[in-house]
Structures are given as structure tokens and as C-alpha cells.
């Protein structure tokens, strides 16, 4: 009843091209962002920051990056863990090897390195498609796993093969409490999400989607597959690499090569599929699902005092997790974002069923 766009007339194209043409949506988003920055810090505990909020925001960022590649450009990748690793290790090296390297530049540098790596491993996509490409991107994953544990220079000759980040500092702001870390990653996320949204609703975004949906037709209207695919790889790996650097620097602090293994790649892919391919909010939904669900699954039996052994709980968790994935895919193969859109659609026509 109240959620209607009736009466909101667009008198020019600029207003029609806003990200959220429906005014209610726009206000809701402002409120949400304000809440994320201002209200959350009022009640979140350190544990909540560290176990939920920070990983959630960073993973959402990585998922956002991957969604550009998979959701928008249609190139399935199982190598996102590797791109994160490149970002993290590159940022680490930049900081270690160049004295006085500011954190932000190091993190951005991580993104840039990941971008180069991504473009390199994106080249096969010009020939190989679909599931073949998906499996082929595993080459990037295993190569990076190997490189990180085998090439001493990657870890700056760290004795153990595990590396750790320096004290986080931006222009004299020492970022040490979980709240500060959260605000940092949240700010970065918001900026990148906005940029990404702009990209996908601009010409380049249409090129990506065109390549995804029908590449022959895209070529016929003058889209160069090479440029479209590689630019998607570049933008996507840049964001993923950046997320990787944040994951290493802000979330983990110290990490070993296994922190960015195949599991991570799969998880990210899961996130965007459960969340919704080809939508920015899908990354958020997916990341939330993936961060929250295991915690809920661990805490619930604990809270209701089920006398199960940890092993049993873990196995049952695995099963529930697997079952839920299938369940959500059945309910809505296009992800939580679409489910949400459908709900909104219903709301718009409420109280009528259609």
C-alpha cells in the first residue's frame, strides 16, 4: 500500500537514471548506510566486529568483485582465492619493501597487482567458455597456492612462510580497535560499491552483460569481446585483490598461504550465487548468508544445550549447510536478491495478489 512509485514522476532522464528510482528505496538506503556507520558502533561488541561484521564487509567486497566477472560478464571463475592472495601478498610486499608506504597505497597496490594477474589469467577466456573456463581458472588458484608457499620472495623471505601486516595507519589515524577496522572496511566497501554500481549501469556494464548473454550478437553491435572480457577480469580482480589485501591486513593480521585456498574461491562463488548473480546487493546478501549461517549453526545447538559432540555438530552443520544451499537454489535459482525483488514486487501490488 505504502510502497508505490505512483505519483513519483520523472521529468528528466537524469532522475530516471538514479540508482534507486523509487524514493522509498532511496531513503531506505540512506538510512541503512547511516545505521551501518553510526548505529552499529553503538552496540556491537568486539567479538561481533571480528567474527561477523569485518569478515562480512570484506567478503561482501570480494563477492562484489567476483559478481562483476561472473554475474555481469558471465565468465565463471574458481580462482578468486588466488586473486585475493595476490592482492594480499602484493600489499604486504609493497609495505615491507618500500619504506613509509602508506597503508591505503599498499592496499590499492595490492588491487593493481591482482588486476594484472587477473588479466593474465583472463586471457584464456577469449577462447574457452563456460565450465571449461571455470575449471581452467583453477590453474590460477593452484599456481598461486604453490607460488606463495614455494617462492620465498612472495613472503619477503619470512622464515615460516606465514606473513603478518604492520600496524594499520592512515594519515596518522592508528587503526587498532575492531570498531575502527570495521569503519575502515565499511567505508572502502561503500566507495567501491558505488563505483561498481556506476560501472555496471554504464556502457561498460552493458558490454559485459551483452557478452554474458549473447556474445555473437554483442560482437555484431560492435562490442569487442577481448576488451569486454579483459576489462571485466581487470575490474573484478582489482576489487577482489583489494578485498584480499583487507582480508590479510585487517581481518587476519597474519596469514599463511592456506588462507586463500580453493575453499575461499568456492565460498565466494557460493556467495554470489546464493546472493544473486548480476546484482550488487546480491554480494551483500550472499556474504551475510555465509558469514552468519555457520555461526548460527554453531551457536544454536550450543544455546539450546544439545548434548552433541563437537564432531557431530560439525557434521550436522555441514549437512544443513549443504541442504540449505540446495534449498535456496530451488526456491530461487537467481538468488536472495531476486527473492527480495519478488517480495518487493508483491509489496508494490499489496494487498492484491498480482
Amino acid at each position: 500500500m505504502f510502497y508505490r512509485e505512483n505519483g513519483q514522476f520523472k521529468s528528466n532522464y537524469r532522475s530516471d537514471q538514479q540508482i534507486f528510482p523509487v524514493a522509498q528505496d532511496r531513503y531506505a538506503i540512506y538510512v541503512l548506510i547511516a545505521a551501518a556507520f553510526l548505529v552499529v558502533p553503538l552496540f556491537a561488541t568486539n567479538y561481533f566486529y571480528q567474527a561477523v561484521l569485518i569478515p562480512f564487509v570484506i567478503l561482501a567486497l570480494a563477492a562484489l568483485g567476483l559478481n562483476i566477472l561472473v554475474g555481469y560478464c558471465g565468465q565463471i571463475s574458481l580462482g578468486s582465492g588466488a586473486f585475493m592472495a595476490v592482492g594480499a601478498y602484493a600489499a604486504y610486499n609493497l609495505q615491507m619493501r618500500i619504506d613509509g608506504m602508506p597503508l591505503i597505497l599498499a592496499v590499492l597496490g595490492g588491487g593493481v597487482f591482482a588486476m594484472v594477474f587477473g588479466v593474465l589469467f583472463g586471457i584464456p577466456s577469449l577462447r574457452i567458455r563456460g565450465l571449461y573456463l571455470a575449471v581452467a581458472t583453477l590453474a590460477a588458484q593452484f599456481f598461486m597456492d604453490w607460488l606463495a608457499s614455494r617462492a620465498a620472495w612472495v613472503t619477503n623471505n619470512s622464515s615460516s612462510g606465514s606473513v603478518s601486516a604492520r600496524q594499520l595507519e592512515i594519515l596518522g589515524w592508528h587503526i587498532s580497535t575492531p570498531m575502527e577496522k570495521y569503519l575502515l572496511v565499511l567505508a572502502i566497501f561503500c566507495v567501491l560499491a558505488l563505483l561498481a554500481k556506476n560501472l555496471v549501469r554504464s556502457a561498460i556494464g552493458r558490454e559485459w552483460m551483452a557478452i554474458r548473454d549473447m556474445d555473437v550478437a554483442a560482437a555484431v553491435i560492435g562490442i569487442r569481446p577481448v576488451y569486454a572480457k579483459l576489462s571485466a577480469f581487470a575490474v573484478s580482480s582489482f576489487i577482489i585483490g583489494l578485498a584480499g589485501a583487507l582480508w590479510g591486513f585487517v581481518h587476519l593480521g597474519a596469514w599463511e598461504p592456506a588462507a586463500f585456498n580453493l575453499d575461499m574461491s568456492f565460498k565466494l562463488l557460493f556467495m554470489i550465487i546464493i546472493g544473486g548473480l548480476g546484482s550488487i546487493s546480491g554480494a551483500l546478501f550472499g556474504a551475510a548468508f555465509f558469514v552468519m549461517l555457520p555461526l548460527v549453526l554453531t551457536l544454536v545447538p550450543h544455546a539450546i544445550g544439545l548434548p552433541l559432540s563437537t564432531a557431530t555438530v560439525t557434521y550436522v552443520e555441514h549437512m544443513i549447510f549443504g541442504a540449505l544451499i540446495v534449498f535456496f537454489l530451488i526456491v530461487e535459482p537467481h538468488g536472495l536478491a531476486r527473492l527480495w525483488a519478488t517480495a518487493r514486487q508483491k509489496m508494490r501490488v499489496w494487498p492484491f495478489p498480482h
Binding site: N46, Y47, Q50, A51, F142, D145, W146, S149, R150, S158, S159, S160, G161, S162, S164, R166, Q167, L252, G253, A254, W255, E256, P257, A258, A259, D263, T298, S309, T310, A311, V313, T314, Y315, H318
Partner: protein, 414 residues
């Protein structure tokens, strides 16, 4: 109302390494239960809680973060994983949280001046490797010149830990060290063992984990490499690693930090006080005396003793804070007599830690698979300090520099 000491236990009962993780966790729990059954630590009951890591660093860190502040604070973490140790070691000084890693962890964390909060009690990978080399030297009459020794290792920080020591040893003794990494999980090792067949090393060290161990032993069998010439680290030398191979693994050696075959009074106590009453953690009492299970008991015992030591100083009948327990770890002193009283006689050696020395003792011995069980076949070896100590110093200093740690001055600590 009885006082309670909260003790979080990171475990991995699932995942790739569950076969090792399960008895290890059961051993820890059994000992806590025994202590509780006997009235707790000076009357303070242990309130233990498991957290499943699946040997995954991220999940381990999550457990750590969640548990460190609960129930009045955790008295320290035994991470059960090299990766989690790395991650947690960075946070420990800030959180003032002891991290104890008996038989694993960072080899250089023996140095208590740099690593105030780490306690790699009983042994590190360097001491393990050193003992193995000593055993080999004994077999070769003290001369390894011109010999070849291969290290087949899990390609991870864990597998790579012994390399610096082996390199130092190779230089000193004049043997050739062949490094053969195996990519996790190691279900397929044909090329590794073909290389071994080609290069014919005189001995092969195995730094493996999970499925990698039995696969390696089976490949050795399939390529005809004598099992007597293989030495596994202590995480590759549990019954379950070779049980299914049976006779095929006969002769396979492993280094151990405690007396595998021995069953002490504590085993009997656990049997009668827990398992006979149906309160044991493992499925059956048959687990008692198994290598990993016993190791879990030893580890739990060390933790309890550290708490006890802390109580001696800071006051009995109450739970200890992490900082107090840290003091306890640093001032452990278990004599032969103490161990006997605890029922661990003949299982572990006396241990004494200090501000400088966080390992306590670094003796280990070799056990061999006789086709159905592991038998201890060597005497105790102590790691050669002339080799290990400089390495510890070098690596600890490097760590201190990397992390901006200002080493404590132990002469100022009493």
C-alpha cells in the same frame, strides 16, 4: 559453590586430519575429566569447552576470538595447528594470552625473551629433526659424509619447519639434503617416490599429515623403498597412520616426545574412573595408550600443572587469569617424582621451564612399527644445542625485527 576454571579446547574432530584430531581431543578431555573427578585443580573444577576448527585457520581464529574472554577469561590456548598458532601468536601479546604448542608451533618460539606468550613445550620440529638425525648417525656410526637424506614434506608452513635445521645439520655433517615437497593433501605421490627411487637417498624423513602418511608408506612399499629407512615426525607416527598397512609398514620409524608404548598409572586411573563408568570421551577404552590419545593427556596435564603452578604463587582455590597462567607455564618444574605422582612416570621426562627457555625439555626417542604396533626402539635423544640454539636465536631475532617486538630481558625477571 565450587570455583570453576574455564578451559577452552580447540580441536579438530572433522576434516582431513580428523583421524589424528579425534584421539588427541579425547586425550585432552579425558584428562580434564579425570582431574575434575579427583576434585579439580586444588578444588577448582575445570569447565572445559570444545571448539571445532577443522584444522582451518580462519575458524580457529574465530574460536579464539569468541572464547578468549568468555567465562572469566581463558587461561590459554592450545591451537592444535601450526597455521592457527601463527595467527594467534600475533594477537597473544596484545590479548595477554598464553599460547602453548607442545610438539609443534614456531620452532624459534623456544626463545622466551622474544616470545613471551608462546610455549612450545616438550619439543619443536627442530628438536624432532635433530633427534632423527642423531638416530641415523648412530646407525651410520657417526659418519654421514656423502650420504643422502631426503625430506618428503607437506607443502605448508608445518612441513617446511624442519628445513632450516636440516640444512644446518647437512652442512655440519656433510650429507646431501634432498627436498621433496608434496602438495596437500598428498593422495597422489607417485612422482615423489619415483624421485626417491631414482636418487636412492639413504634415509627419508617424512613431515606429513593426514592421508599423506599412509600414502607415502604405501608408495614406499610399491617402489620397494625400505620402510626401516623412513622416519616420520611425531604427527605422522600414530597407530592410525599405518594400522591399515599392517605388515607393509613394518620397520617404519617415528620420533616421539613421549614413551608411546608405555602405559602409566594415569591410564589405569582413566580407565577405572572414567571408561568403566561409561564417562570416557573416546568410543572405547581401546583408545587408551594410543599415541595421539596419550599425547592429548600429556598436553592437558601440562596445562593443568601450569595452572597449579600459578595457583601456588597467586593463590589456591580460585581460577587463574591468563597472565597468571603464563607465569605458571614459565615456571613449570615437574620432577621425576612429580610425574610419578601424576601417573606419567616413564611417559614423559621431567620438565623445567624458565623465562629464557619455553620448551622445558627437548628429549625425544624413536619408535618403530612392528607390523601391529609401535615399539620404542631407541634411547632418549636430546636435541643438540650447538645446532639448535643458534638457529633459535637467529630466527627469533628475525621475528622480533619483523614484528617490532622488543625482547624482554630475562635477567631482570626472577
Amino acid at each position: 559453590q565450587a570455583q570453576e576454571q574455564y578451559v577452552p579446547a580447540l580441536v579438530y574432530r572433522t576434516g582431513q586430519f580428523a583421524p589424528l584430531g579425534v584421539p588427541w581431543a579425547d586425550g585432552k578431555l579425558d584428562y580434564y575429566k579425570l582431574v575434575n573427578a579427583r576434585g579439580g585443580i586444588n578444588g577448582v573444577q575445570i569447565k572445559y569447552e570444545e571448539c571445532e576448527t577443522g584444522y582451518d585457520t580462519a575458524r580457529g581464529v574465530e574460536c579464539y576470538e569468541r572464547m578468549k574472554g568468555q567465562n572469566g577469561g581463558a587461561p590459554g590456548f592450545e591451537t592444535q595447528s601450526t597455521g592457527i598458532t601463527f595467527a594467534v601468536s600475533d594477537r597473544a601479546p596484545g590479548d595477554k594470552m598464553p599460547v602453548f604448542t607442545p610438539g609443534y608451533g614456531l620452532s624459534q618460539s623456544v626463545d622466551g625473551e622474544v616470545f613471551e606468550w608462546n610455549f612450545p613445550l616438550l619439543g619443536t620440529y627442530w628438536t624432532a629433526a635433530d633427534s632423527i638425525i642423531q638416530d641415523i648417525m648412530k646407525k651410520e656410526n657417526g659418519n654421514l659424509k656423502g650420504k643422502k637424506i631426503a625430506l618428503v614434506y607437506h607443502d605448508s608452513p608445518y612441513g617446511k619447519e624442519p628445513i632450516p635445521l636440516l640444512q644446518a645439520r647437512a652442512k655440519k655433517e656433510g650429507f646431501e639434503l634432498i627436498l621433496l615437497p608434496v602438495t596437500a593433501p598428498g593422495v597422489e605421490q607417485k612422482s615423489t617416490w619415483l624421485q626417491i627411487r631414482q636418487q636412492r637417498p639413504d634415509y627419508t624423513l617424512l613431515w606429513s599429515a593426514g592421508v599423506m602418511t599412509p600414502t607415502a608408506v604405501r608408495e614406499a612399499q610399491a617402489t620397494g623403498y625400505p620402510r626401516e629407512k623412513i622416519y616420520g615426525v611425531w604427527w605422522a607416527g600414530s597407530d592410525h597412520d599405518v594400522r591399515e598397512i599392517g605388515q607393509g609398514a613394518k620397520g617404519y620409524n617415528t620420533v616421539t616426545i613421549h614413551n608411546t608404548a608405555a602405559k602409566g598409572a594415569v591410564h589405569d586411573a582413566i580407565k577405572t574412573e572414567l571408561y568403566d563408568k561409561g564417562q570416557g570421551s573416546a568410543a572405547s577404552a581401546a583408545s587408551l595408550g594410543q599415541l595421539a590419545h596419550t599425547r592429548g593427556m600429556v598436553i592437558a596435564m601440562l596445562q593443568v600443572e601450569a595452572i597449579k603452578a600459578a595457583q601456588e604463587k597467586f593463590g589456591k582455590d580460585k581460577p587463574m587469569t591468563p597472565e597468571q597462567v603464563r607465569w605458571g607455564f614459565e615456571n613449570l618444574d615437574l620432577s621425576e617424582a612429580d610425574l610419578k605422582e601424576l601417573g606419567f612416570e616413564g611417559i614423559v621426562r621431567p620438565i623445567k621451564t624458565s623465562c629464557k627457555n619455553h620448551i622445558g625439555e627437548d628429549w625425544s626417542r624413536i619408535a618403530q612399527w612392528d607390523g601391529s604396533k609401535f615399539e620404542v626402539v631407541s634411547d632418549w635423544y636430546q636435541a643438540d644445542q650447538s645446532v639448535v640454539a643458534p638457529l633459535v636465536k637467529e630466527y627469533a631475532d628475525r621475528y622480533a625485527k619483523e614484528k617490532n617486538v622488543t625482547p624482554r630481558d630475562c635477567s631482570a625477571v626472577q
